[in-house]
């Protein structure tokens, strides 16, 4: 009996809550929700109805009180649409700070624009959005919309706290599944929520109240890793009319293989013959694969064209072969086809490119925004970024390294990880010979080698115009004054994946004059540090995504007539965050040379919020110790 009552009560609550929540006066917001907040989500209710395998309706209501101009971005009064998803209705009502309605904006007054970016050749995505000038803060905007789509493969998750500096008064989520299509859902980080829920086989219901805003902090984890969410996916679904069934990654991968990838790797005979010729003398599969990758890089280019099953289907390999371009899906599939022609198996692999984001291993649904290629060779797994015309073979760089990805095989999907670039491999190694002059100026020969992640961040400089290269170095080495360049040369070793910079430069005022002394900063190139704000009440954990290693060797030759009066003491700091070893020594026959050896290691890792202060202190120590000077005095 109690159960029935409870159900009735819940039903009543759900049915009537909109009527009770019409008080949008700004002063009625709980003061606890105002701290750190630029806006307050007063009421968000999303109702997703699965009307059929290939028909879904999403009703959204989003009421946001904007507290200041930074809060405007949270209004989000818009919906996307394209050929396969249509906006049925859209409306917005604006309330003043007293909660009185001041304006109503009808659907036809919404603005419309194409979402084709400047880098995209074609996409049919469009946006219908509210363009409203806010006059006074606080103001409340209530947006309501209804969107219908034929793709049920993407079910919007419930993420009540989707942004920094936004607090939530009330957020609810309802999945209505009258046909009882089997579905899965997964709850994350709901422990600390005041939560109401009612889940059955024919639907879900969640409601949360009073969630405080989160302030973004430097070097902190991604918001979605610690904020509440409920993920939902149907086990039987449709993507732009193509139906499917999948309850886990294996099945979803299988479906993607069967409906999006299969039978797209046919190639013209002449291309195969050409490849056969190219790989004729190759001794191993790895060597062959390198030749194939090189062939793709030389003969194609990246062009973003979002066509085919909602942008999820790659172009045919033979079309890429003829056109010589494609997007990441097309180029990956094309490379796969070419490898196949050489009897080298490879796998189309879906990934989130950019910041380290995993394809969720625990929850199978359409995820990812990029595609790369995985080759399980005998000695190791090789990874290819096929959308790049310049990446070396088996180099992913920081766009897709160290994260969970979905590898698609004919048998099904599999979650695996891309390689991590370890701290010791992310190496920048410099060797600099410096000749000083009496006025404090210098000429220097700089050799710097970059490998690991630093390789990917620097090698593009070789294609820049000379003027821009000079500006790059002047900006990065701002402490070296009036830099002039007599030589700028680069060596890009794509086999060993090392990029070497070779420079000959001249500059003024490296050493500052003080009477008959020269004050010489012995760290010719500055040590890498993060600039961290003082924050005694850090709330979020500290995350260093990638470790880095810097080895520097500076050799100074004194101007004629000068001798060394003093040199900095050696420094060794080592802790959980990394280490700094700095050693200056006097060298040369007449003791007219200074040698400086520096090792700086910044570890990757996750630490509790309390570690922030110590980490900042470590950065300050590095700055301070690498700012020490030697004193030269004229005879």
């Amino acid at each position: 009996m109690r159960k029935i009552l409870l159900a009735l009560f819940l039903f009543f609550q759900i049915g009537t809550s909109p009527i009770f929540s019409q008080d949008y006066a700004a002063f009625s917001i709980d003061p606890n929700l105002l701290s750190n907040a630029n806006a307050v989500l007063r009421n968000q209710s999303v109702e997703i109805s699965i009307l059929a395998l290939d028909k879904m309706r999403v009703k959204t209501k989003r009421v946001v009180t904007v507290l200041n101009e930074h809060g405007e971005q949270h209004v989000q009064a818009y919906d996307f649409y394209d050929e396969n998803s249509k906006i049925k209705s859209q409306e917005a009502i604006v309330y003043n700070s007293m909660g009185e309605e001041i304006e109503k904006i009808k659907e036809r007054e919404f603005d419309d624009r194409s979402l084709v970016g400047s880098n995209t050749l074609y996409s049919d995505n469009r946006l219908s959005y509210l363009n409203y000038t806010i006059k006074d803060y606080p103001i409340t905007i209530a947006y309501e919309s209804e969107v219908e789509t034929n793709s049920t493969i993407f079910i919007q998750p419930w993420k009540p706290l989707g942004n920094y500096n936004l607090s939530v008064e009330q957020s609810s989520y309802k999945l209505v599944n009258p046909k009882a299509i089997p579905f899965r859902f997964e709850e994350r980080n709901l422990e600390d929520l005041a939560l109401e829920k009612n889940n059955t086989t024919s639907g879900l219901y969640y409601k949360a109240e009073n969630i405080s805003a989160v302030e973004n902090e430097v070097l902190s984890p991604d918001l979605s890793t610690y904020t509440p969410q409920v993920l939902v996916a149907l086990n039987e679904f449709a993507l732009v009319g193509v139906e499917g069934k999948a309850a886990n990654w294996k099945e979803l991968g299988k479906w993607q293989y069967d409906f999006l990838l299969k039978e797209k790797t046919e190639l013209p005979q002449e291309t195969i013959l050409k490849l056969n010729e190219l790989t004729e003398n190759a001794k191993s599969d790895r060597e062959k694969a390198e030749i194939v990758y090189n062939y793709v890089q030389e003969n194609t280019r990246y062009i973003s064209v979002q066509l085919g099953i909602g942008g999820w289907e790659p172009m045919l390999a033979k079309d890429v072969d003829a056109l010589g371009y494609g997007d990441c899906k097309a180029l990956t599939n094309y490379t796969k086809a070419l490898l196949e022609s050489q009897n080298i198996p490879s796998y189309y692999t879906v990934v989130y490119g950019g910041d380290k984001t995993n394809i969720d291993p625990e929850f199978a649904s359409m995820q990812g925004n990029h595609v790369i290629l995985n080759l399980p060779l005998a000695e190791e797994d090789v990874w290819l970024e096929c959308a790049s015309q310049s990446n070396p073979f088996n180099y992913l760089g920081d766009f897709t390294d160290d994260r969970k990805v979905l590898k698609i095989t004919p048998e099904g999907g599999e979650i695996i990880s891309t390689p991590n670039y370890a701290t010791a491999l992310n190496l920048r190694e410099s060797n600099v010979e410096i000749q000083l002059d009496e006025s404090g100026g210098f000429s220097a020969r700089i050799t710097r080698k970059n490998s690991g992640i630093p390789y990917g961040n620097i090698y593009g400089i070789k294609n820049q115009k000379k003027d821009h290269q000079k500006i790059y170095y002047r900006e990065n080495w701002g402490h070296l004054k009036e830099l002039e360049f007599s030589k700028i040369a680069f060596e890009n070793n794509r086999d060993s994946i090392v990029f070497t910079e070779k420079l000959e430069v001249k500059g003024t005022k490296l050493a500052s004059k003080a009477g008959n002394r020269l004050l010489l900063p012995v760290n010719f190139l500055q040590a890498k540090t993060f600039s961290l704000p003082r924050n005694e009440s850090r709330k979020l954990p500290l995350v260093i995504e990638r470790g880095e290693t810097y080895k520097d060797y500076f050799q100074f030759k004194l101007p004629a007539g000068y001798k060394i009066e003093s040199i900095p003491e050696p420094v060794t700091i080592e802790n959980e965050f990394g280490k700094l070893i700095l050693k200056t020594s006097i060298a040369g026959i007449d003791e007219t040379e200074l040698k400086v050896e520096r090792l700086l290691v910044l570890n990757e890792g996750n630490w509790e919020n309390s570690a922030y202060i110590a980490y900042r202190e470590f950065m300050n120590q590095i700055k301070s110790y690498t700012n020490q000077k030697a004193v030269l005095v004229s005879n």
Binding site: K135, N463, S512, S531
Partner: protein
Amino acid sequence: MKHFYFFIISLFSVCLLQAQDYKFGKVSEEEVLEKEHPEFKEANAAILFREHRVYYDIQRNSGLRLITEVHERIKIYNKEGFDWATKTISAYQNGTETEDIGSIKGYTYNMVDGKLVDEKLRKNGIFKEEASKYSLKTKFTMPAVSEGSVIEYTYTIRSPFVTSIDDVPLQFEIPVNRLEAQVKIPEFFGFRMHYNPKSPIVFPIDKKRESFTYNYTQKTRSGQRIVKTDYSQESIDYMLDVYGFKRDNIPPLKKEIYVDYLQNYAAYLRWELQYTKFPDSPIENYSRTWEGVAKSIYNDAGLKQEVNRTNFFDTDLDQLLAETKDRPGKLAKIFTYVKNKTTWNDFIGFQAENGIKTAYKYGKGNTGDINLLLVSMLRYAGFDANPVLVSTKAHGIPIYPTRNGFNYVVAAIEDQGEIILMDATDKNVAIGELPERAMNWQGRIIREDGSSDWVNLMPTVKSQNTTMLNMQFDEEMVLKGKSVRNINGLHAKKFRDNYVGLANEDYVQVLEKNKGNIVISDVAISNEKAIGENIKQSYNFELRDAMEVINEKIYFKPMVFAGLNENPFKGEERSYPIFFDFPSSDSKTINLLIPEGYEVESLPESAIVNLKNGEGVFKFVVSLNGRFLRIESSLDMNNMVYTSLDYEGLKNFYGEMVNKHSEAIVLSKS
């Protein structure tokens, strides 16, 4: 004999050059084999040939059409040049009529196994997109492009908007080997041609007249009961103005990192419609003077009507001004009232989009709505107030008198021969100041009688930024001190734009940034919301690691965090002018108490550096009085615009300042 050979060789190479065939499809092996541009070695791509033809076409069904035909042949040297293989053509539509982009034809040429092979651009490489209500885009990307490819394409734009001819580009970011342009205009249209005054390159144009006969069939019907149709051949003879342009080796537009609107500096031809004179119709004159343009905007675009609209705000304004008798007081009240009452909707324009009455009622509008409302209120209150037409920075400086030359309006009052400008769309500008977008050269003031004049929009008063640091070392050699800063004018506006509304702890973070190992406390800011008033900001600081002790000597940079550490001018040279935001006077005073037990061993020397006849002055004055060290560093920049010729001077000038600011003092134990 040697000479003779040389002669033959050079003659031969001239022949080779001339033998270049620019007919569509006649791409040569040499062109595909070329590895780098012979003259501009760094070029990623080059336009081997470009033909741009503009003419009018008369058709019986559709009437007059303006036709633009473009033929381009582009060489791609390397992967950085691949962007040139994708082309976007923009067309205009206005709801009823549309420009039509068609006849797209293209091929890519490559050398495959020693043979020249072409690949056709097919339909699947061409995409159309409706970018907005007014803009259509056709994009295509060429097939089979790799390093060395030559691509060639043609397309045609048919436009119903016959009185506006688009700019004919003469220069690009890549070199052009051969460019031919031709514009044929029938005598029905009087166009005047203009070069881009910002481009240093002016190419000569051939102009000639041709006669032309247009034949058409006239259909006449006669008779009452038996209808008889006669077809007769008719013809009109008319003259054509033909502008021709042919040129080899056009240098690329140099891309520099610190230039915003690069295309503003490219060479092009612009077409100004002066009149139309159709057969059997009177001449219609479009040619204008600035006086005429101003007058027509004032009368026809509704400005006159708007600024004279009152009564809807009369009571409110009477009440507002009831207590205020003096004119400056009234002016301030009205300006603040309009700023508080209305919010700018981010749209620019000299016309009132919604009308000032609606803007007043709903509290928002475009620049026309808000500033015309201001003019109207000022007039009501007895000021000699008028609108001033402006072209924003992004819009550029107008080349010839046309209504399109202006796109913005501000308000002005005239008082004893002095003009005071106002813009109520920006909450942080004071009376007499303009937001950056409107500070562009000259504007046109239009008075009640329709007469107009140029007024200067550039700020003439120097904005001040004064900082004083009083500091001393404590026992642990931590530098402790207080910073007091006073700012006015556009410096104060900038401050308000950036920091007003920032929470205190966030502002402390902003202040501590890039100042080393510092702790800042007791931040106080006054007048931050009193627009037009000086802002005073002060804080206490504790700076660690500010000095070094080596062999019992203290080495210390006295400018600490207040100095300029890096020269902002990093480029080797410059091809474009340099703009400063506003004339400015920046001064920094350091007062340091030398620690007990130490004496000064050496000090930086004082210096004065002049930039170009006093357009800029840097002064650095060091004085020691007992234990009190005082450094006064000031930078006065009196001019806002410098030409590329001044670049080196500016760079050296700032270089000197950086040097002075990084000099150290040495203290030794006494």
